[in-house]
Amino acid sequence: MNKPDLIRLPGPRLRGRVLLLSKLLILLAAVLTLVSVNLCTALTLSLFLIVGQAAVIAGAGLALFVAATDFLRTRGTSEVHFNAGETVFRQGDVGDLVYVIVSGEVEAIREDPDGEDKVLATMGEGEYFGEMALLSDAPRTATVRARTDLDAIAMARADFTTLYAYLPNLRVNVESVMTERKAQNRERLGSKSSFGMLLAGATAAALMASAAHAAGDAAAGESLYKKHGCAQCHGMEGKGDGYLLPMLKETPTMRDWSDPEALDGLTDEFMIEITEKGGEGVGKSEIMLKYGKKLSRDEIVDIVAYIRSLQ
């Protein structure tokens, strides 16, 4: 798989240093300006014109650089690097980014002002954190620190929710992993569970794009149905109300598979055939795609069993 083209943004240490430099330069320039316009001597004037102006240009430039990277950070998906020991975010910070670990390890720490800080969990490759961000600008509930050098993908809430809303395929994937994740989280953090955690499962699932499935006819069919995006047209419950339909040039008439009479007269063989060969292959609407290459005969049989079970 190709590595996605992500912007690599400066980590917090570099950002802090650049911002510090910018602040010092601007403060210097402000003092020089004050002195220069009020004293009117050759020395202060030259200092202002030479040092002060340069400081403003450099300082404002650096501040703009920081602002631009901050903007990119909250607007998109970017790659971030943290050195071992660096804090990714602190308890109480306002956050709107979800992080997925590409390599390295982090620990989540509950900071207790009166007592000992408590390590809640450690997380590694493929795992995610910062999920509360998906809820709202809620403050971070724990401090997360890099245990080792850390490469992560930071995803903005806006990005994630857009993806989530427009890619039912992803949503379905995500939801199938969600239950699993939820149970895990509950175990890890005691009995607490939240919408944020549910959605976080989604991020992880979306990025890892892997969902494990148990065998079983209709049940296996269901996850295949969702994984392969049938729901984009046929809808999440097979009602024929997928989100893609209104976007098509001509809206096809879809059967509502939850209607007991909908599939009357259609044999399993036909249903398997149309899934394999597509609508075109059996003289039906070409909007129904062919899945013969993507799905094995057995998998299609499972899906058909699932479709039948919807009635």
Binding site: V37, L45, A60, A67, R90
Partner: protein, 234 residues
């Protein structure tokens, strides 16, 4: 010698003053915004407000501060106060000009308030850090001498103009006046009409105004006491 100074040293235009007020206010605003934004940022409570304060204080305001500051500075660099700031070098000229009993050309112009603002600059208009390129170099040359504390800068040696004084600035003010053109036994009109030859060696008009109206300033050797004018309230 009567040293009461009637012409305030600070004679910058009100426009320049406005510029320096605005620049000062902006500079204070920048200081307040950056420092308080910095503090707020550290408390980690209101980071959105802190970010806005820092953004304003680090980008937009400093740029305006710089523009107004540069404008004000350039205007102020024309003031007598500014010339006077290189005390040892420029003091004899300032002191003489402000001396009401002096009969030098500069003093006459100043004491009679012929040139109400920035008299040094008006007569040395092509002088100045932000003048034409050539004048700029001269400005830096003066700064350089001053920084190196050369004998001229220390007021030990007579300063000489780098080039013979051209009549340009004088004519700038005078050539339009009918009384000027008609006086001076016809010489004024000839000078104004460029009818007089230039010196082959120096390129200066053979008939510099100073031939009949000099000297502009006293020579260092003629200054017996060092006159240190008090800084007037401006």
């Amino acid at each position: 010698m009567d040293l009461s100074i009637e012409v305030p040293l600070h004679t910058g235009s009100s426009f320049a003053d406005l510029g320096s007020y605005v620049a000062s206010i902006l500079a204070v605003a920048v200081l307040v915004l950056v420092l308080s934004g910095w503090l707020l940022e550290r408390t980690r409570r209101v980071s959105a407000t802190a970010s806005i304060m820092l953004f304003l204080g680090l980008t937009i305001l400093p740029i305006f501060m710089m523009l107004f500051g540069a404008f004000a500075s350039v205007e102020q660099a024309k003031s007598v106060e500014f010339c006077h700031s290189c005390h040892t070098a420029m003091n004899p000229y300032v002191a003489d000009m402000l001396d009401r009993d002096s009969t030098t050309l500069a003093a006459v112009h100043s004491s009679e308030r012929y040139i109400p603002r920035d008299p040094c600059y008006k007569c040395h208009a092509n002088y100045g850090v932000w003048g034409e390129a050539e004048a700029k170099f001269r400005g830096f040359a003066h700064l350089y001498h001053w920084l190196l504390a050369s004998p001229t800068a220390l007021g030990i040696e007579q300063i000489e103009t780098y080039e013979p004084y051209a009549n340009g600035p004088c004519l700038e003010c005078h050539s339009g006046a009918k009384s000027f053109l008609e006086s001076g036994q016809g010489v004024h009109r000839m000078i104004a009409d460029n009818l007089l030859e230039l010196d082959d060696d120096t390129g200066a008009p053979v008939t510099s105004c100073l031939v009949c109206h000099g000297p502009a300033h006293p020579k260092l050797a003629d200054i017996e006491v060092e006159i240190v004018p008090e800084r007037a309230e401006g």
